[in-house]
Amino acid sequence: MSQDASMSIADAGMSAELAARDDVIVCDGVKKWFGDFQALRGVDVTVKDREVMVVLGPSGSGKSTLIRCINRLEAHQEGRIIVDGIELTNDLRNIDKIRSEVGMVFQQFNLFPHLTVLDNITLAPIWVRKKARSEAEKRAMELLERVGIPEQAEKYPGQLSGGQQQRVAIARSLAMEPKIMLFDEPTSALDPEMISEVLDVMKDLAREGMTMVCVTHEMGFAREVADRIVFMESGDIVEVGTPEHFFTNPTEDRTKLFLSQIL
């Protein structure tokens, strides 16, 4: 794939309205190696303000690595990533800024097991955003209300079901009032009956205009909510398009193969 072709792919599937919005995340030729394994082979992608972007692809295709590079849980080695006008480099000041403006939800929830649900949510607002405890707790209760589990505030994560834990994890990220939310396969570790309760919360978020990048295997969610869908394979972006284009009329053979296997 030539450099020109990939540049055009980055903007593919964008409506005029979407194209006119601000660029919130810009990835330009991002490359990343783990030892001698190349996980990202020059990814170009732009996420617009209030856009919901779903990243699809087989396992090991670099989806997770890409979004983990966006909040610098992994450092990319070549290319550039600009989030909200700030370039990601080794600059400590920038990393701190990005981390508090980009929320992330993990596959394994990663709640802090030794803290109550309320403490899990208020920890970062208090110590990173320097809010007063009372204020942080008030906000935390609002968020728990919003994800539908205010009565669990004093429990420990281990006492909750998987779906509840993931909703707490979303509330924990939202408590930092992020501009962007990253979701790394948020429903993959859940029992089937709990998936919808998490997806509902995510759909609400999307409706309220949060900028979101989701790595997920939930095709229904992708079709319903996504503004654009990105398909990745072996560290490359293969195809970008609207859900309609993607599910009805994909251009690339690899995308067709993937869809035929998964649908």
Partner: protein, 639 residues
């Protein structure tokens, strides 16, 4: 007697001596289920008989003069602490027991013990005494010991009474109700204290005393100077327990627990250095120098920290911390006076007013505690941005600093002031008190060392990792005794002029560094059990490395390492006995040297050694049992 208790205390919760089936069935099932099993039973009966016969014979043999122990209790526990100042020992012990009571009341108020199990243990202890007495009377292998009759009769009578109480009570309570019939821990503590007091006042144990080298051993209950203070001690323990229950109900648990935690860190130092040591304060100097300096650091440093802990002052704080750190390091260098660098000449610091003056020249150098305070201020300033927040958080942060400074200055002043206690040997503590204090503070001080080293060893930074690994593996590869030799004999050679470590200080430093390496390995085990997701979630939320370590990683890692940490605490306590080899008069040295060299008890090493074995055993065993129950309590549920 203690050995009998050991058998029972080691028993699992399920009481084997009161089975649901008939005794005959039980014996057949557990001892003679097969031919092999029967052989094992016979074999162990013979081995057990021989071992117990030998042990009882050894203890009761008339060559063992147990008066060597009974008359030397004070020597064993507090060495040569002057008798006219002994009230200080009682005050310290009393305060400690009071705090033990408060802590139990605050933390273990929910603990209940099974009544049936308790009675079974009492009964089994009695049974064990009976068995020992009978074994002693039957001589199968010709293990001839010459022992007096009286102890055997006492064993028989006491054993029969205990067995009757235990098994009789057991029958009265009814079998199979272990889980339902429980007694609160308080009842057990209070009952134990009462039994001890009754023993002191009523049981004709014998009155032992050593007055000016004359040994007095006459029938009767124990000395008034023993039983009276101990009665008060037991009252304090029980009273403390009740107060703890009340305080917890009134003040809310967090504040009260914080107070208890602070006491257990700083309280013992207060007892040792200010109560037991009784420093002779120079009040004029304190008002003119010490107090203003302490207040200066508390208020001035506090103001600086208040400024640095405002949100968004991260870079200012880093620069301020680095500058302070350089200044603190410079203070230490200037403390050496003119610094003689081998091969590079001498650096003169006399232009600096706080540099140590050259030998023989009058002048004032900076007080050591000021240097320490500057260093601490620099380190706290460096981490201040991590704990920044709104007004209340900052005030709490500053308050903690000010409180810590005042406490530290007070303590250092106390340590540096000459003691009024007249003792034979330089350390004013000896015997069991010394063992306990060293063990306690080595555990406490090795904790930060171990934590730093564990973090360094698991860090991603290769040089830190190599340094920490080198330190840990080096220390773990050599025996404690060589480390102690090094610190007792050699370490002062390494220190520049004007700095010196006392013998005890050197031993303490060496033992702490040694213990720190083992501590590091234990904590590292906990750190490695934490999943990567916890680190990633903390990073994604924007926590700094210090915050991540303090709030997320360490609390979880420490919880996992509790069993190992307690194991190490036990090891530290036991290995404190090595101090005896390098010349400290600890528990072992007093028992093994001071007591047997008294004219009346020449060569009586065995009674004293057996006695201290039992004391060591009780404490170590209690700690390991305590850790096991703590483990189950923490392991249960999700906390």
């Amino acid at each position: 007697m203690e050995q009998g208790a050991a058998v029972q205390a080691a028993a699992p919760p399920a009481p084997p001596t009161v089975p649901a089936e008939s005794p005959g069935d039980w014996i057949r099932k557990n001892l003679f289920s097969s031919v092999g099993n029967s052989i094992v039973t016979v074999l162990f009966v013979l081995i057990g008989y021989a071992a117990l016969r030998w042990l009882v014979g050894l203890v009761l043999d008339e060559e063992r003069n147990w008066a060597a122990v009974w008359t030397n209790m004070r020597l064993l526990f507090s060495y040569t602490y002057p008798a006219d100042q002994y009230i200080r020992i009682w005050v310290s012990l009393g305060l400690t027991l009071l705090m033990v009571g408060l802590t139990l009341g605050a933390f273990a108020s929910q603990v209940r013990l099974s009544l049936g199990g308790l009675l079974t243990r009492i009964g089994a202890a009695g049974l064990a005494l009976l068995v020992l007495a009978i074994v002693h009377m039957v001589d199968l292998f010709g293990l001839t010991f010459h022992s007096p009759e009286r102890p055997v009769v006492v064993m028989l009578v006491v054993g029969a009474i205990l067995a009757a109480i235990g098994f009789g009570g057991r029958q009265a309570v009814g079998a199979g109700s272990d889980d339902e019939r429980t007694v609160p821990l308080f009842a057990v503590v209070a009952g134990g204290a009462l039994a001890f007091v009754l023993f002191l006042w009523l049981v004709p144990f014998g009155r032992y005393e050593a007055i000016g080298g004359d040994v007095i051993a006459e029938p009767g209950t124990v000395n008034f100077t023993t039983k009276f203070p101990w009665t008060i001690m037991m009252a304090l323990l029980v009273g403390g327990y009740l107060a703890g229950l009340a305080a917890r109900a009134i003040t809310g648990s967090t504040a009260f627990r914080l107070f208890l935690g602070l006491w257990w860190v700083a309280g013992p130092a207060f007892l040792v250095f200010l109560v037991l040591r009784d420093p002779e304060f120079d009040w004029a100097h304190i008002w003119s120098t010490d107090l203003p300096m302490a207040l200066g650091f508390a208020i001035g440093g506090g103001a600086l920290l208040y400024f640095l802990s405002a949100p968004g002052r991260g870079e200012v704080a880093r620069i301020a911390g680095a500058v302070l750190l350089l200044y603190a390091a410079f203070n230490w260098l200037a403390a050496f006076g003119d610094l003689n660098l081998p091969g590079l000449g001498t650096i003169n610091w006399q232009w600096y007013p706080f540099a140590s003056p050259p030998a023989g020249v009058e002048g004032t150098s900076m007080l050591q505690k000021a240097r320490i305070s500057f260093l601490l201020l620099a380190l706290v300033a460096l981490i201040a941005p991590n704990f920044a927040g709104e007004l209340r958080t900052r005030l709490r942060f500053v308050g903690a600093w000010a409180g810590f400074m005042l406490l530290m200055h007070w303590l250092i002043t106390g340590i540096n002031t000459p003691s009024t206690v007249q003792v034979v040997q330089p350390p004013f503590l000896g015997g069991f008190a010394l063992t306990l204090v060293i063990a306690y503070y080595v555990m406490l001080a090795s904790f930060p060392v171990g934590m730093m080293m564990a973090l360094a060893r698991t860090s991603k930074m290769p040089i830190f990792r190599v340094l920490a690994t080198g330190y840990i593996e080096f220390v773990r590869g050599v025996p404690l005794i060589t480390v102690l030799f090094f610190f007792a004999n050699i370490v002062n050679l390494f220190l520049p002029n004007g700095m010196e470590l006392s013998d005890l200080g050197a031993i303490f430093l060496g033992y702490t560094l040694f213990s720190g390496a083992y501590m590091a390995e234990n904590i590292r085990g906990g750190l490695q059990s934490i999943r990567r997701g916890q680190f990633e979630a903390s990073d994604a939320l924007g926590l700094t490395t210090v915050q991540r370590t303090a709030f997320i990683v360490m609390p979880q890692a420490l919880r996992v390492s509790i069993p190992n940490l307690v194991g190490q605490a036990i090891a530290t306590f036991k290995e404190t006995s090595l101090i005896a080899i390098i010349g400290g008069f600890d528990f072992l040295r007093v028992a093994n040297q001071s007591v047997p060299s008294q004219p009346g008890f020449l060569g009586q090493n065995l009674p004293a050694l057996l006695f201290i074995s039992v004391i060591y055993w009780i404490i170590s065993y209690a700690m390991s049992r305590g850790s096991r129950s703590l483990e189950t309590r923490l392991g249960v549920g999700t906390r």
